[in-house]
């Protein structure tokens, strides 16, 4: 509270190219805790700016901070720092240190918003920081190779951060979380990134919702994390041999609901993940809506729509401990004589052909051939290769709205 009061009462310093203060470095040096720096329109060729006191740095008409590829631009080591409305370009690329446009180290109460970051290595880098906000930033890189590119928003050992309404494209991972808990990621757009649109590692109790992940190397990866809520996101056109909308690896107790997976090579790729509830998701025209690899236990799939996927579900084992109930399957061929909206015969979503394709990927070319349909039909009548308890016993006759 004391800090907040200082913010309100602090004075304002104006920085422009013809002003008394014509560099940001000078401005920071002259300012006192709680002051506001007004950076006016112009190009400032500066880097390695250390913000070590609570300051608000506001760009007027998006001034440009050009790092000339020499190194890091802002390093924030104080609490309650705001960086708003700047355009930061030409962050130095290094193989030894992770240079960022804005790095926040061991600080609280930060606010990074309305900035444009271009020609960058790392974008916004949080290191052991918490209670902050990253909003409305536009981050766009021109990353070509994974080894010499960084992440758009990198969150490491941090807590209680809101990441909202940002657009991230052309970097390695759009948004990256490692050892970070209670992070809220909402309404961001993450597109055309080399690797993942969003990447979780060892991060628990996080929420992400209403984000769009499009055309990323491999969609969203959630690994080694617990209690993640994933709601209302849109995953589309993540295409390629090792590409998917969402990759789940060693995840437990998560909820995945109301997401849309559209035209991905694989909608969700699940490996060793348990106790996950999948509800009201839409799987539309994916190559594989859901691919289950390895042991996955006690997962529940309920009220999802599976629409026109080449394969709705693929398993690589004969065992099933997951529950499929009350989903809509567009290729369900049963009937509903008692008119209760639920198909009278169970639906078996795993085709034998998906096993064949898992084994010999080239056989995919025989998709939709009459021969395969006959084989699939006979397998459906008497399962030999597919888990015989894997069936939706209450397939819906109409789409879930």
């Amino acid at each position: 509270m004391v800090m907040m009061a200082q913010n309100v009462t602090g004075k304002t310093l104006t920085i422009c190219q013809n002003c008394a203060i014509n560099t940001i470095e000078e401005g920071i040096a002259l300012a006192q805790s709680g002051d506001t720096l007004r950076v006016e329109r112009g190009t400032y060729r500066e880097y390695n700016l250390f913000v070590d006191k609570p300051l608000t740095i506001v760009g007027i008409d998006t001034p440009v901070i050009d790092g000339q590829k020499r190194g890091e631009i802002f390093r924030i080591t104080a609490d309650n720092v705001s960086i708003i409305g700047l355009k930061i370009i030409n962050v130095g690329v290094s193989y030894t240190s992770d240079h960022a446009a804005i790095r926040i180290v061991k600080s609280e109460g930060f606010n990074v918003s309305n900035n444009e970051l271009e020609q960058l290595f790392f974008g916004i880098f949080l290191e052991k920081s918490s209670r902050g906000r990253i909003a409305n930033n536009r981050i766009s890189g021109v990353a070509k190779d994974e080894y010499n590119s960084g992440n758009g928003i990198h969150i490491w050992y941090s807590k209680n951060v809101d990441v909202q309404d940002n657009t991230v494209e052309g970097v390695r991972d759009g948004i990256y979380l490692e050892f970070s808990d209670s992070v809220h990621i909402r309404s961001n757009k993450s597109r055309k990134n080399l690797r993942y649109g969003l990447h979780f590692m060892f991060s628990n109790h996080n929420f992400y919702g209403d984000n769009t992940f499009e055309n990323n190397g491999a969609g969203v990866a959630v690994m080694f994390s617990k209690f993640i809520e994933m709601r209302g996101n849109h995953f589309s056109k993540n295409w390629g041999p090792a590409s998917y909308g969402m990759l789940l690896k060693e995840i437990t107790d998560a909820t995945i609901s109301d997401n849309i997976f559209e035209e991905n090579t694989v909608g969700i790729n699940i490996e060793g993940s348990n106790r996950i509830v999948y509800e009201r998701n839409q799987f539309i025209q994916n190559g594989w809506a859901i691919k289950v690899l390895g042991a996955c236990y006690s997962n529940t799939f309920r009220s999802n729509n599976f629409l026109y996927n080449s394969f709705d579900l693929s398993y690589n084992s004969r065992m099933n401990d997951n529950l499929f109930e009350g989903n809509y399957w567009s290729n369900y061929s049963g009937y509903d004589l008692d008119k209760d909206g639920i198909g009278d015969i169970p639906h078996r979503p795993v085709k034998l052909f998906s096993y064949v394709v898992n084994r010999t990927p080239e056989t995919l070319i025989l998709l939709r051939s009459l021969f395969m349909d006959i084989i699939d039909f006979s397998e459906r009548v008497s399962p030999v290769f597919t888990p015989d308890n894997l069936a939706d016993t209450k397939p819906l006759m109409r789409k879930v709205e």
């Binding site: 090579t265 990927p361 009459l370 021969f371």
Partner: protein, 260 residues
């Protein structure tokens, strides 16, 4: 030749088969669309159906028509008419009838349902184009069988076998080969095996529309180049075209030499 075509048409329009074929598609189209109310589902169902049904019907009708128009052929052969004109006219007569049955039978319900206002129009065009190509291909193959076999029972037998082979057995052998030789790079083999069967070829055209997401999961570069680009569609269409032209050419060659 136009005269022959006219009378072939005339003759076919008198037989109930042509109408049955048309009505079948018409009813199928309406049932799929108006009972289900889902345009893309209807298109997918039809695609699966058409690549199997069109070859079957075209082969059977082709053989049947060639045998049943034997009298007509003999009557014309003694007239001052070019031989090529007679046979080409008959080929176009039957393919034209089957093609318009398909086109109108499916076109009417889809247009009535509002095809032109939907995104599925390109899928529908793919469906119709491959359906028409298969009609021409399998009628041509059927005529080849019929012109070489005086014995009708045998001709019908070969026609059904041809269909069975192309629609089912071929893919079985294809699959078996892929599994047996899975350690080897199979890209080129798969592509050529596909090109050598018109049913597989039209299936690929349909896959390119419906299952592109799955196909992009392929690791092989050859496939990616083929499937991911316009040239894939172009080569497929070219192959379909040669499947039309070559059987027609061998049929015409045989019919020129045939004794009546």
């Amino acid at each position: 030749m136009l005269k022959i075509l006219k009378y072939s048409f005339y003759d076919l329009l008198r037989s109930r088969w042509a109408y049955a074929y048309f009505l079948f598609y018409l009813i199928l189209g309406f049932v799929l669309l108006f009972l289900n109310g889902d345009l893309s589902k209807a298109v997918i169902t039809l695609m699966n159906l058409i690549i199997i049904l069109v070859p079957l019907i075209s082969t059977i009708f082709g053989v049947m028509y060639f045998y049943s128009s034997r009298e007509f052929t003999e009557l014309l052969l003694a007239q001052p008419v070019r031989r090529d004109a007679i046979f080409l006219g008959q080929y176009l007569g039957i393919t034209g009838t089957l093609a318009s049955g398909l086109l109108l039978g499916l076109g009417i319900p889809f247009v009535a349902y509002g095809l032109f206002q939907s995104n599925e129009i390109y899928d529908f065009i793919t469906l119709i184009v491959s359906g028409l190509a298969l009609t021409f291909i399998f009628t041509g193959l059927a005529f080849n069988i019929a012109v070489r076999n005086e014995n009708r029972i045998r001709g019908f037998g070969y026609a059904v076998l041809l269909w069975l082979f192309m629609a089912v057995v071929y893919d079985g052998l294809f699959l078996l080969t892929l599994i047996i030789f899975e350690e080897y790079p199979l890209d080129h083999f798969s592509l050529s095996a596909t090109v050598f069967n018109p049913i597989d070829l039209s299936r690929i055209l349909i896959l390119l529309k419906l299952d592109i997401s799955a196909l992009l999961g392929y690791t092989g570069a050859v496939f990616k180049n083929f499937l991911g680009t316009k040239s894939g569609i172009f080569i497929s269409c070219l192959a379909l075209l040669s499947w039309i032209v070559i059987p027609l050419w061998t049929f015409m060659r045989k019919s020129r030499k045939k004794d009546f």
